[in-house]
Symmetry: C2
Subunit: 357 residues, 2 copies
Amino acid sequence: MSTGKVVLALDGMGGDNAPEVVVNGADIARERYPAASFLLFGDPARLKPLVDRRKGLAQALEIVPAEDVVSADDKPSFALRRRRQSSMWLAVDAAAQGRADTVISAGNTGALLAISMVAMRMLDGAHRPALASFLPTSRGETVMLDLGANLECDAGNLAEFAVMGSVFAQVLLGLSEPTVGLLNVGSEELKGHEELRQAAVWLRREGSPVSFHGFVEGNDIGAGKVDVVVTDGFTGNVALKTIEGTAKLYTSFVRDAFRTSTFAKIGYLFASGAWVKLSKRVDPRRRNGGVFLGLNGVCVKSHGGADALGFAYAMGVAIDMVRYEYRSKLVEGLAKLHQVSSGPEEAPVLQVSGGVE
Amino acid sequence: MSTGKVVLALDGMGGDNAPEVVVNGADIARERYPAASFLLFGDPARLKPLVDRRKGLAQALEIVPAEDVVSADDKPSFALRRRRQSSMWLAVDAAAQGRADTVISAGNTGALLAISMVAMRMLDGAHRPALASFLPTSRGETVMLDLGANLECDAGNLAEFAVMGSVFAQVLLGLSEPTVGLLNVGSEELKGHEELRQAAVWLRREGSPVSFHGFVEGNDIGAGKVDVVVTDGFTGNVALKTIEGTAKLYTSFVRDAFRTSTFAKIGYLFASGAWVKLSKRVDPRRRNGGVFLGLNGVCVKSHGGADALGFAYAMGVAIDMVRYEYRSKLVEGLAKLHQVSSGPEEAPVLQVSGGVE
């Protein structure tokens, strides 16, 4: 673990509730992490009054003027070429150039990924970045990636994502040997796409840098069967949004159920403490902070609609990644992976038709 | 709508709780659907005592001896070649040969698909069968397919699945123009795999047999944004199991929340009526019955762990498909689709990199 100061570059203008949420989030983070200081990018005329209102924040924070803003509708390619003077671009650049240790933005995800890839480049041994996040499970939390950075992935990408997720879980969850599963339609060896089976072959080899569990299925995510779930960005994005939708649906079902009778309404009142506990458990702010893994830099994406607490949580993720030296651990892990994956090929496994269990 | 008798071929030995659940399910279905009669395939020594115990059932039901059983572990190819005398094979064959109008089995899904494809063949205009089922939404129910019959799908498959799902929703939900969405990572036109965009082009054309909404995302499933959600079997299977896992997780969260204090426990008791209502709403038995669409026959897969009520529900799905002439409606719809999809190609839509919003 590295000690000492951590400098956070903040995109002051990104997200639905910027800049208020960013400034208030920095204020919360400053109390939690006294070693943190902040470079806040954006419009000084809007940022300064907000900072000044927070007693003591100005001592730990420097406002860096940025004329432009990446909008939520900007296409990544447009933001990349035409928003060079935006708060997002300048914040990422500060982290890429070493003036900051990490960058946090609640802005346009696609633009943030594109800009980070160009400004930070990939880490040694990583070929594509993956978007990772935490999901609630019955055992605690599971890291899932890729959540949408890559629509199609080959076996090499998936194997690298496994290493990225494993190192991320080590650093953020404090696990020494997090278990990793590849998301598939069945847990038997023969099932699934060719790239999944090839990635599994590599991850299972002697000397592999991850503790590979094998294939997992959609229901294993919520059950917390493994600490890290790896999939391609298309499937991961669908699964993530399906979880969000299902959670929302069940919450509405529960609420409806308690509106059906007077007794139920009374029961609801008696149980109000339990509801608070429940909503804390499913509180998305506590899991706020999608992270782009594989970049030569630490870039955390806060949810666009996050509040100050959520934004502060995302900063905590970034700080942990810096402190616990995520990057050097990942370079080590990827080197090990490429050693085992370059070994002699095994006899190919025969593919079965159909995917139904 | 066709009137008159409906003959159901039942795999008496398939599923975790066979043959009891099958016989008891038939008894429930007989009361609900007086026009139904049953061919029950399996071991007479085990089936006859169960049938005789149910007063009056024997009049509507004929036991057809079958020596063999498809086991849950049988590979589809093995069941196809080596289980010719099984209750599943013989039941499917009865429906394929016209001795029954439909077949229902709670046995091995992969085997049932393989056997049905060989015995029933595809319907005119359909190239691959898809597994479809109902999912709960905040607006009621949504049909989703493919849930795992095909790991990879091309644009033609996806477009055909859209028609299959639309006709199924017409027949089962009584909707005259069900809306259809293609599952994707973003709702903008430019996103997603090439095959998704090509299918969307066809489904949107003048003369298309479906009311095409466009692309939908994972969270739109639970929100009930469309009546039919179409995807490939890999993504569909992951999404289905993710929904199951999330529902289970949230149920356990809610239960835990009500165990946290005496007040909460009292609240739980007061609200017990609400719980019953809630569990009815999420009761999987009410949505039991995955259906293989696109076959030249009606084949319904009951959940392996279904109880008698669930099995009876699956029979109800089969009866509706026969009565409301699902097959002829689908042939019509597919013919219309192939007419519009064989039209001149539009200029290709440029692909954007990355899939992140």
